[in-house]
Structures are given as C-alpha cells and as structure tokens.
Symmetry: C2
Subunit: 138 residues, 2 copies
DNA sequence: TTAAGTGCAAATTATTTGCAGTAAG
DNA sequence: CTTACTGCAAATAATTTGCACTTAA
C-alpha cells in the first residue's frame, strides 16, 4: 500500500516543480497545511518543525525557504536589519511590523491606497513595492 | 584664538546634543557638508572617510551612525536582508532600491500618494511607514 | 542509476561589544 | 578631572557554502 501522503502539501510542491521530499513536506505542512497565511523566519520555522517531531536541519530550512521563494511559493519580506521574514501570502500587500516583539503581520490591504507610484526610471522596471508600517506600543 | 571649527557640521552635532569630536566632525562633513542628501552604509562611509584622509575606525563609524540616528540626525532605512542604509533626509519619503547595484536613492515623493493608511491596532501607534520600490533592469 | 536534496561543520557578512587608552567640557 | 568617546580585536547573529552521504524519479 502507498504511503498516505497528505495531498495538499504535495500538490503545493509539485505544482511549483519541486520534489516533495520528506523535509519539504514537513515544512510545507507547517506553512500551508491549514490554509492560513503565516509570517515566519528561518529560526521560527526550525523551532516549529522540531516541536512537530520531524527533523530538518537548520541549513535545510534556510535553503528550502530560498527555494520556495524562487519557485514563487513564498514571498520574502525585508523589514528588519538582520533577519528575513517569509510570507505564505504571495500577493502584494502591506505589513505591520511590531517593533517591540519583532513580529510581522498583514495590514488590512483595503485600507491602503497608493494612488500612483513614481514611474520607474529609464531602463528599470518595478520589481515590487514593499510597504511596512512600523508599530510601537502607544 | 579659537580653533577654526567648521560651523555647519559643528552646529549639526551640537544642536542635537552631541559632542563635536574630531571623528564625528569628519563623518558629519561627509554626510551633510555640502547640503546634499545622501544614502550611505557603514562600509561606504568608512571608505569615504579613509579616502578623505581622515582616520575613523570602522567600529566607530558603526557606533556613530547609531548615535546619529538616536539623536534624530539620520534615518535608518531597512531595505535589504543584510545591510543597513542611512539617509540624511530624515523626512518620511519613499525610496528606490536598485536590486542589481544594491543602491538606494530617493523616489520622487510627489508622485506617491497613499490615500489612507490602515489605522494602527489598539494600543499601538504608527512609528513610521517605509515604502521601498524595488527596481530591476528592464 | 543519477541528479537533486540533505546534514553537518566551517566560512562569510554585517554588526556589536569589552576594555584599555584618549580627549572634550 | 571625569565622563564620554575611540580603537582594536574578539564576539555575535543570521545566513551561506563545501562536501560527503541519501533519496526520489
């Protein structure tokens, strides 16, 4: 009998042209297993996977996050000098960054309207627009 | 007779409550000496100061940039996973980030209109809003 | 079988820090 | 004087890489 592979995560990977290895499946389950969007860092995902009982090395977590980004499965958010965040919601939308806890969350996109962006200078095109609203305790 | 201290940089420092030391004066001259706005990194400023003939250690460049930020003389821009940029223009304005050269420059602010921002969640206030328009060669 | 994926430990990059010496008020 | 500032070298944090081993197709 075939191994009971969870279909959702396997599809998420294969549809992006990635091999559904044991490690990638474990990470995918934590990222998109319940259909909710998440904002994670390499370290936080590493902690989650350890807690879930699976074993994936930290280097592989880093490398896999990069691979997922290149495959268009995740979006990297650059928010803080040091560490990188990854968002399972790959649409262009603004973020809240909580300066005290260093947590990242979605900001309600409907409330943000950029009337018109500066036009890209000659010979350049806009790759993406990052909007980060930094919050601190009032 | 008093030492001929360059007035502009000395004022920039003293008005922010900072001692105009030799090193800070050398850095201030490079940052705001000609009244132009600049986007620099610790390493690039370190290179400039060496080229100018002055000697300031890299650690001091890093520490001084932090001090200048806390004093409100510079604004730190978080744009790339790894390194920090500092802007002598402390007003809130959007930036272009050139992905190929990793250079940061001002985007024409008049062209950007954020109609209305998301309201800060309860117990929080907006510290600042970073808008980074990432450009790649077309 | 065989190219892609993984784990470890060592390497890198950007930045910070401890501490002894130097200088500004 | 005495407290803040500076320089150096070592420490740290996040991430990447080299390379031998495994595994999915």
């Amino acid at each position: 009998m075939t191994t009971p592979i969870l279909p959702c995560e396997a599809d998420w990977l294969t549809q992006a042209g990635l091999r559904p290895t044991k490690q990638r499946m474990a990470l995918a389950l934590l990222l998109v297993g319940d259909g909710q969007h998440r904002h994670i860092t390499a370290e936080s995902l590493f902690a989650s996977v350890r807690k879930s009982g699976n074993s994936v090395s930290l280097a592989t977590v880093y490398n896999t996050l990069k691979v997922f980004c290149r495959a268009g499965l995740l979006r990297e958010i650059t928010v803080n000098g040091a560490k990188s965040y990854f968002d399972t919601n790959i649409s262009n939308h603004p973020h809240f960054f909580w300066e005290d806890t260093e947590e990242l969350s979605d900001a309600p996109a409907e409330d943000l309207e950029i009337s018109h962006l500066p036009t890209a200078p000659d010979g350049a095109e806009i790759a993406k627009v990052d909007v980060v609203i930094r919050l601190r305790k009032a």
